[in-house]
Each structure stands twice: as C-alpha cells, then as structure tokens.
C-alpha cells in the first residue's frame, strides 16, 4: 500500500467506528478541500452513502461560490444537508470588519457560538429538502453529540496534539492535558450519557496528501482554489474579510501539487493567509479550547 492508500484505510476505519458507536452523529462540512475529502472518504466507507447529516455553519461572509458549490453537491450526492447561523450576531453587527468587534470576537460569534448552538439544537437549523431542491426549517432539535471534523495535525501546533476520538465536555471545552489513550485501532468510544466527542479521521493527512488524493480520486473541488487568470488563488478557504488569496498561477490540481512539493509553497504554512491565527500568539489554541474547529 502506498501512503495515500494507508491514509485512506485508516480514515475509513475511523469513520466506520464512529458510525457504529455514536447515535447523534454528524459531519462538519466547511466546503473547503479537507472536509470535502472527508466527505468523499465517508462515501468510500459506506459504499456510496453518507449515513449521517452534514452540518455547515454559514457565517454569511463565505465566498458566494462556496455556497453554490455546497448546494450543488448536496443535491447531486443526496446529502442530508443541515445549515446553521448566528442570526442574532449578524443582525446586531457583532462582526468584523463592518461591525463593532475585532477578528477574534467575530470568529467566536459567527463560528464557535453558531456551531455550538447549531450542534446542540438550541438555535434553528435548516435542512435541504431534496424533492424541492431548497432548505426548509429543520423540525429536529436533537443535539449532535458526535461530530466528525476534518482537522489535520500539520495545520498548526494545537492540532498536532489531537486524538482521532477527542472528548469534549458540555461546554465543548477541550482538556488537552488529559486525553484518552489510543492504540491498535482502539479508540475511546465509550462515553457517559450527555458527553460529546469530536472525531478526526484526517489527523495524519498533510496538505499535500489532500491534494494528491483529490487528484487520484478526481474529487470535485470549488474553483476558488485555482488561479482563474488573476495570478491569485485561495490556498485555504474561510470568510472573505479574513482570508487572503495567495499569489499563484496554479490553474489545476497538478499545478497545486507541484507548487506544494517543490515550488513556492513547499515551505510556507498553509494557514499563513488566515488573519485570526496571528492576532495574538496562541489565539487559534484559545479558539480551539472554546470549540473552534
């Protein structure tokens, strides 16, 4: 088995383990390349099916093409698509840069808080109605207690400490000092009623692996990752006020792979275009402890 086959097998095993053990399971789909690979792996694990809902937190600041791409695949792949949003913060303009708060507070409002309350079922959710092809209010208020997330260990320091199955307390807090052991394909799958778990099947993948796999599997990816003639492209997708494109003329997956292997990005961190990581020395860790993905 080559590296991608090994990574794929492990991720599939973890997804199947999660599906076997958790009732309130969902997968977060940020529309980016990583969680789209994760979605593809779920289709591999369950032989073409995705037997749990996909949850997207819409900050309302996402690049419009991302939303269009999300809904196209949701219909094409018959996905149980659920969307949530922090409507109160948006209405009160508790946002950056058009509103009254800084980058970190904006992230906290539109991502962490929105995610927490969407997962818990406290805030309204909408769900794709496949026969009508549009979203409708989701009558279910059931909390999602097992959340599959596409984080990778190579993204930044705190993610390198993650477990494949990572318990969170009721407040979504992550206790990095006391994590369960994981060995021999045995993960923590026993939880007291009411506890939450994050599942991270992509932990061992690098940015390069993700692109190599997208290439091998011909996974459809939003074209925002490619240079469309302006000499710029997105390397990492987020909200448009805080995510800058990078200078690059990579027009397709092969050229991105080349760029990562030996070209200009071989030694530059992926999230260097994400402003919130830099706001204070350990801000992403602060956000993660509070439930940011």
């Amino acid at each position: 088995m080559d590296q991608l086959e090994m990574l794929e097998a492990k991720s599939v095993h973890i997804l199947r383990e999660a599906y076997r053990d958790f009732k309130g399971l969902c997968m977060l789909w940020s529309i980016g390349k990583d969680s789209t690979v994760l979605l593809w792996l779920a289709r591999k694990a369950f032989l073409g099916h995705v037997p749990f809902p996909l949850v997207h937190v819409d900050t309302a600041f996402k690049i419009p093409e991302m939303i269009e791409y999300r809904d196209r695949l949701a219909l094409e792949w018959n996905l149980n698509m659920v969307v949530g949003q922090n409507k109160a913060a948006l209405a009160a303009k508790q946002t950056f840069p058009d509103g009254n708060v800084d980058r970190l507070a904006c992230c906290r409002n539109l991502k962490s808080e929105a995610l927490k309350h969407t997962l818990s079922g406290e805030w309204p959710r909408v769900r794709m109605n496949h026969s009508l092809g549009r979203y409708e209010p989701d009558p279910s208020k059931e909390p999602y207690t097992g959340v599959i997330v596409g984080v990778r260990a190579d993204e930044e320091g705190s993610r390198s400490k993650e477990r494949y199955f990572s318990p969170r307390d009721r407040e979504n807090d992550w206790n990095v000092d006391d994590q369960p052991p994981e060995l021999w394909r045995q993960y923590k799958t026993d939880f007291a009623p009411g506890s939450h778990v994050r599942i991270h099947p992509l932990l061992d993948w690098t940015e390069l692996n993700i692109w190599e796999y997208i290439h091998r599997e011909s996974i459809p990816i939003t074209s925002l990752y490619f240079d469309r003639g302006e000499g710029r492209r997105y390397r990492s997708l987020g909200c448009y006020p805080c995510t800058n494109g990078v200078e690059s003329t990579a027009k397709n997956v092969e050229e991105i792979i080349e760029e990562l292997r030996s070209g200009k990005f071989a030694n530059i961190a992926e999230r260097s275009g994400r402003a919130q990581d830099e706001a204070d020395g350990g801000s992403l860790e602060t956000l993660r402890r509070e439930g940011y993905m």
Binding site: A45, L47, S160, D177, P181, E182, Q186, A192, E217, A269
Partner: protein, 613 residues
C-alpha cells in the same frame, strides 16, 4: 474534437509515484532530549515551514531565553510553561526515501498513556538516553512498553554526548547496561548511536567529535528502518466492524465491513466467522466508485458481500475456512499494562475491546505483577496499579475469538475499558481451558448458601404430578411466542402447573429501579437464568422464548438453572452450532402439530407423566 470525449477528469498518471510512509516514535525518560533531537532533525532536513525557526528564535530573544530546538515542538502554551512534552505531538518530515510521521512521546510518568498512544502508532522507535544522567526508570519502562506494543525496530540514541566530552567509555557503558536489559525482554535493538541534539553531532552527518563511531547517523538509521510488508502473506484475519444494509437509499447489498489485519482474500474464498462458527463464501469485494477488485489484503478497509445469507454480528472474526482457526475461549492469560486512575481489581466488570469485539470481562486473578522499570516481580499483589505491568487471568462473559501474541500479534491485542475510559492494554499469551468459570463458581456458591424452605422439590413434584422444568424456545420466527403461549394453555388445561413469561417483560419492565443502566445482553441472559431457577424451584413448568439465541446463551441459561433441568426447543433457522437442542421444529409447522410433538418429547424424557389426569 470527438463528440464522445467524456467530461474530463484530470489524468491520473501524470504525477510522480507516491512515497512510502512510516510512523516513528521517539521515547525516553523526561528531559533526556527527545524534543531536541526531533527539532534538530526537522531543522536539518529542511522540513520546517519557512520562518518557523526564525520566529521561535525571535520569541526566545524577546523573552531573554536561550533558544532550544525543543521549542519547535512545544507549540502549546501550557506545555511551554511546564517545559515538558504533555502529549504525543505529531510532526512530519520527508527524506528522499519516504514520508515520516514522528510522534514525540512524553517522558514524564504522568503522561505515560500519551506515550503509549504515540508509540502504538509507530513501526519503529528511537529511544533516547541522556549520556550524563544514564539509564533512568522510564528508559526501562519505555523499553518494556515498546516490546509489549510489538515495536521490534528500536534504535537507542545516546544523547547529550557533548556533556560527557564525547566519551566512548560512557557510551559503551550505557550500551552494555541497556543491551542487557533489552535482551531480557527479548528485544534486539538495531543500533546504538552517540549524538548531541543541541550540537547536531551524528544526526544527519557523522561528527568529528566522535571519530570512534562509524555507524549510521540518526537520519541514516531512520531511513534504514524497514516497513513491514509481510502481513498480506499471512493467514487471513478480519474483525467484522459492521454490517451495512442501506435499503432506505435503494441499496440492497448486505455488506460485511472491516479492516483486514492479516492475509489476502478473493471472491469465491470460503470463510468462517468466529466465535459463531458460521460459514459462507465471498461473493464480491465492494468498493465505492470503482470496479469490484479481485483481491483485498492486510491493511485495507473493505466491504464484502457473501454468497449465502447468514446472520452474523459486528465483533466476529472473519477467517478463511481452510486455514488455522483462531482460539475461541472465555478464559485467557495476558500481559496487561494498566493506565487507569483506579487499580485493576478482581470482581469488577470491565469491557474488553479486542478487534471489533466488545464484551464484558473480569479479572479472575493476578498471576504476577512486574515493576516495569526494573522488571522485578512484586509479590502478593491483589490489584494492578497505574503504570504496573501484570500477567493476569481474564474471563469474558461470552466466548471471544483471538490468536496468541506469539502467533498473530495483531489479533492478540486488546484494551480494557473501565468506566468509559481505556484504562489498560494487553496481549494474549495463552488460552485457558474452560473447565471452570466465574459463573460456575457463582452458581455453586448460590446453591451452597441458598436458604431452603421445609418443602422439598420431590414433595412438590408429587403434589403437582410433575417436576419443575425450564422450557425454552429458541428461534427468530415471529410465531415462536404464539407457540409458547399455546403450549402454556395446553399444559394448563391438562392441569399442569405452568407459567409463560415473555422475555420482553423481563427486559423492559422488570428492574425499573435500575433505570440509569441499559441492560446488556449478558445481563438479560443472567436475569432470565435466575428467574428460571426460581420458577422451576417453585415446581412450575416455566416457559419462555429467546430470540437470536446463540450457543453460549443457552449454555449459560442451562448453567444458571442448575440443579434443575432445561428443555430447549429450536424453531426454524437458528444460530446454534455446538448446542444441540432437545427438539428442533421447522418454522412452518402447524401450531397444534408442533405442540403435539413437544408434549410427546416431554413425555418420552419423563418430564411429564405419560397421560394427563
């Protein structure tokens, strides 16, 4: 342009071939310099993101701290505060040969479970020993854990050689002493390398400071580790992780899913599932978005369809029929490393996770407790403390399928769950004959101490005209409960003393006080067995049904009902292999005809008088 050109997917062959991947772990006593060695390796192989080194150096300058390579890995705030690695942090680096994932395992004893996590992922290990401090407690404990985890490629890196003036004598003494220790464990290290992480000696290039050393550099050693490729050629083992049937999405395939531990399998191969003993053959190997492949091998996460419809559950071990069978037992001897906050004790239920099996387990007794840092036996211990290594006898509440560590270590490994937490890990050394069991002991105890009334069972049988008997129907068919109720009615009308109890009543309505706990299948069987014992002791013909009954369920019920006897009737297709029912009836038999046959058989056995009053 041809009109037939398909919508283009990118060509799949244009990329250079992908590298091999290997997981490494770096272990050793606290402060012996693991993070420094790794940090230096990352820096010297150009594997750091641009600007990272400069950024950390600038941070150090700002805080008036001398720069250390270890800071590169210490990405988390609280970790830097304590100055020790809390968790198994992962980092990546590439050589011309392959892609590496390095797990930096903490050396502090408080974080041993994190060390285990990091080490269990690895195919090879670098074990760091401080030249100045020498071999410490965790140098030994980590060596032991590596051997238990099944990591056979270990290179011992003697670090901080700069602090002992690159003395060959110091290096040789450490090598001799540690080699002795590893040999006692049956581990043969592949090399000993003198280095200085701080100064960079012998990491990527041989150093002029150690002219007496002509072996491999650390980087050379890492590339010399071998990826293990032999698993595909071994006998076939796959724990059944799940059974999928996505009928609601219009998919009628029934798929047996799992990750193959060892061996290779092809469509047409005959397979046997253990412990149930059911057999079938592979119809197809199923994959998403591609042609069905004609073989699947160790390491792959796959799905199969079978040629016959058999009822199997997640947790079974799928094997090839012609090959050596795994062990199937309820008792086995194992080496256990305990990580739980509470000690491992006898008489407390734990959960065993072995392959895809999850089953209640108890410690029967401790055979030997080792101090893992000294490998000396601790006498007369009746519990296993945190960080102890112990040889134990365990008993599961139903049979499990496994191999012995010396045969196929991948299917000999398990973890123990204590109150939701993985608290121990172990490897199975040998199976024990099931001549005795905790359950049999308990039943024996129960009978010895049972306080009896003045009426004897014999007197009761004379009065009622028949002895008490446990009559159990096993079978999936929907008409089984109806049959059981009709038998009760028939016996009652014939003036026998009888009682029908629906298992649903037992499982759903009794034990309401225990509302917090969901009864496991084992608990339910136990409850039913105890009720059988009471009802038959009261002299009744006690009738009940058990759906999905397996061999072991019936053996257990029979045992629990002792000293009274049980009469088992199977209806239609059953899951039974070893257990022979007293009577087997076809599923489509007319009910009155079935009752006639049952009464006839009960008469023949002498359980009922020849003719009723």
């Amino acid at each position: 342009m041809s009109t037939n050109t398909p919508i283009a997917a990118p060509a799949k062959t244009s990329l250079a071939s992908l590298r091999e991947q290997m997981d490494l772990v770096v272990v050793g006593h606290v402060d012996h310099g693991k993070s420094t060695v790794i940090g230096r390796l990352l820096a010297d192989t150009g594997s750091l993101p641009e600007g990272k080194l400069e950024k950390i150096k600038a941070q150090c300058a700002r805080n008036a701290r001398p720069f250390e390579y270890a800071f590169l890995l210490d990405a988390l705030k609280n970790e830097q505060a304590q100055g020790i690695t809390v968790d198994a942090a992962r980092c990546f680096f590439n050589t011309a040969k392959r892609h590496y994932i390095i797990n930096d395992a903490p050396g502090h004893i408080e974080f041993l479970k994190n060390m285990v996590t990091g080490a269990a992922r690895a195919e090879a290990a670098l074990l760091i020993i401080d030249a100045e401090e020498g071999i410490q407690e965790n140098s030994k404990r980590h060596g032991y854990i590596l051997s238990m985890l099944g990591i056979h490629q270990v290179s011992v890196v003697v670090n901080k050689m700069d602090l002992v003036d690159y003395s060959q004598e110091v290096f040789n003494n450490i090598r001799a002493e540690y080699l002795q220790f590893l040999n006692n464990l049956g581990v043969a290290p592949v090399s000993f390398i003198p280095v200085s992480g701080r100064e960079g000696d012998n990491l990527t290039e041989l150093s002029a400071n150690t002219p007496w050393y002509t072996g491999k550099t650390v980087l050379g050693q890492v590339d010399a580790f071998e990826t293990y490729k032999g698993d595909a050629d071994r006998i076939f083992r796959m724990p059944v992780q799940d059974i999928y049937k996505f009928t609601a999405s219009g998919d009628d395939r029934r798929i047996v899913a799992g990750t193959i531990e060892t061996g290779t399998i092809r469509p047409g191969d005959e397979v046997i599932f253990q412990p149930s003993g059911k057999t079938s053959s592979i119809k197809t190997i199923e994959v998403f978005n591609a042609e069905c492949p004609n073989s699947a091998s160790a390491g792959q996460a796959v799905g199969f369809t079978l040629n016959t419809q058999i009822y199997i559950k997640p947790g079974e071990l799928m094997c090839r029929k012609q090959e050596t069978s795994p062990r199937v037992a309820t008792r086995f001897r194992a080496n256990i490393f305990w990580m739980g906050h509470s000690p491992l004790i006898a008489g407390k239920p734990y959960k065993l996770k072995l392959g895809a099996t999850r089953v209640p387990v108890e410690l029967v007794r401790i055979l030997n407790v080792l101090d893992a840092s000294e490998l000396s036996s601790i006498a007369d211990k009746n519990h296993v403390d945190r960080h102890d290594v112990a040889e134990c006898l365990l008993e599961t509440s139903r049979p499990v399928a496994f191999d012995l560590a010396e045969e196929i270590e991948k299917t000999a490994r398990f973890v123990l769950v204590d109150n939701y937490e993985i608290a121990g890990c172990g490897i199975i050394l040998d199976e024990e004959a099931a001549s005795e069991s905790l359950l049999a002991e308990r039943v024996h105890q129960r009978e010895m101490t049972w306080e009896k009334g003045f009426v004897t069972p014999g007197e009761r049988a004379v009065r009622y005209g028949h002895p008490g008997k446990f009559i159990l129907f096993a079978g999936q068919s929907a008409q089984v409960p109806e049959l059981a109720k009709r038998l009760e009615l028939k016996l009652f009308l014939d003036r026998f003393h009888t009682y029908y109890l629906s298992t649903g009543n037992v499982f759903d309505h009794l034990d309401q006080d225990d509302s917090a706990a969901v009864l496991t299948r084992e608990d339910q069987i136990h409850r039913l067995g105890d009720l059988g014992r009471l009802m038959t002791d009261a002299g009744l013909l006690f009738i009940t049904t058990l759906k999905d009954a397996e061999d072991f369920d019936l053996e257990k019920l029979k045992l629990l009902n002792e000293p009274n006897e049980a009469f088992v009737i199977s209806v239609g297709d059953s899951n039974l292999n070893r257990f022979t029912p007293h009577l087997s009836l076809p599923a489509d038999l007319d009910i009155s005809e079935a009752i006639g046959l049952i009464i006839q058989e009960l008469n023949k056995k002498g359980y009922l008088p020849e003719y009723s009053i």
